[in-house]
Amino acid sequence: MRILLNGRPAEVEAVTLAEALARLGYDAGGAGVAVAVDGEVVPRGSWRSRALAGGERVEVLGATQGG
């Protein structure tokens, strides 16, 4: 299915958010990472249960230099 990953279209075969993140190459542990789907925070503990649908906007964020 096609999702919007950090603002760019991405093709990924996955049922859950956790699967999608792993297939896209993100660290499975996810330390220092936060995810929002369609503007809602998905806590790390729910990545495995959150079903992903085509067209959803997935934002994967981490700490960087700033402020």
Binding site: V41, A63, T64
Partner: protein
């Protein structure tokens, strides 16, 4: 004697809070942070590429510096609240440096959105350190809605113009019910010292160090300026006066008028 900065139950020995923005490399940033002696340093939350490894967080962890996530780049209360929640999720801290910007060119805060976000986040259990304008009324409101620290600007972010309105800053300090941290505008060490002499509980700065020609050297200067300013504040300065007040007593001075001549 211990003179700790206490915010929401956390005690910090260093009253210098650093930012990490503007550094040319992680190496330069690391040297500057170590030289600054800081124990609390801001980070931003941005989109992460797959496979990204080695971040500013590793650097902070190596030196035992706590990360203070910010909401830089947010223009609405809604975005700032969501960013704070993502930061809590990513970093495992409920501390947030709340920024809600109202204008692209000056990066001045949007007072209405800021207040709304501060109240929402404080109610949600966040420890909110609010970046604000130097408006004493707004500063009081931010404390009243539950902010753990109020952080008025000295001048716009990155401008290096110092403390443009020390009078307002004094009013904020006079009425403060939370720690007051001067945030933004510091250009050089004397600006940081002045903030502390006026009675600020701490100083938050980034550009003045990260964009200095020698960041680590400026970081050391800032550490010493904050310490010196704090000591001077506690010591109590002498009042300003228009005429001289001799420091040497006139009593006991020798009579050295010349002889009558012979």
């Amino acid at each position: 004697m211990d003179d700790l900065l206490r915010i929401a139950g956390r005690a910090l020995r260093s009253r210098l809070i650093m930012g990490t923005g503007g550094a040319t490399s992680l190496d330069a940033l690391e040297r500057a942070l170590v030289a600054s002696g800081t124990e609390l340093t801001t980070v931003a939350l941005r989109r992460l590429d797959p496979g990204a490894r080695g971040s500013v967080l590793d650097l902070l962890r190596r030196h035992g510096i706590a990360a203070l996530p910010n909401t830089a780049g947010c223009f609405t209360a809604r975005d700032a609240v969501l960013t704070a929640k993502l930061a809590r999720e990513a970093l495992g801290t409920d501390w947030i440096k709340l920024e809600v910007i109202g204008d692209d060119r000056t990066l001045l805060p949007d007072p209405v959105e800021l207040r709304e976000a501060a109240e929402t986040l404080a109610d949600d259990g966040f420890t909110v350190l609010a970046y604000t304008s130097d408006d004493p009324v707004l500063a009081g409101q931010l404390a009243a809605v539950g902010c753990a620290a109020v952080m008025p600007l000295g001048a716009p972010i990155g401008s290096g113009m110092g403390i443009l309105n020390p009078y307002n800053l004094r009013l904020i300090l006079d009425r403060a019910t939370t720690p007051v941290i001067l945030d933004a505008g510091v250009g050089t060490a004397s600006d940081a010292a002045l903030a502390m002499e006026l009675g600020c509980d701490g100083v938050l700065l980034a550009s003045a160090v990260t964009r200095a020609q020698e960041p680590a050297l400026m970081a050391e200067a800032m550490r010493k300026a904050v310490e010196a300013g704090r000591l001077a504040h506690r010591a109590g300065r002498i009042p300003r006066r228009r005429y001289a007040l001799a420091s040497t007593p006139s009593e006991g001075a020798a009579d050295l008028t010349g002889g009558t001549g012979a």
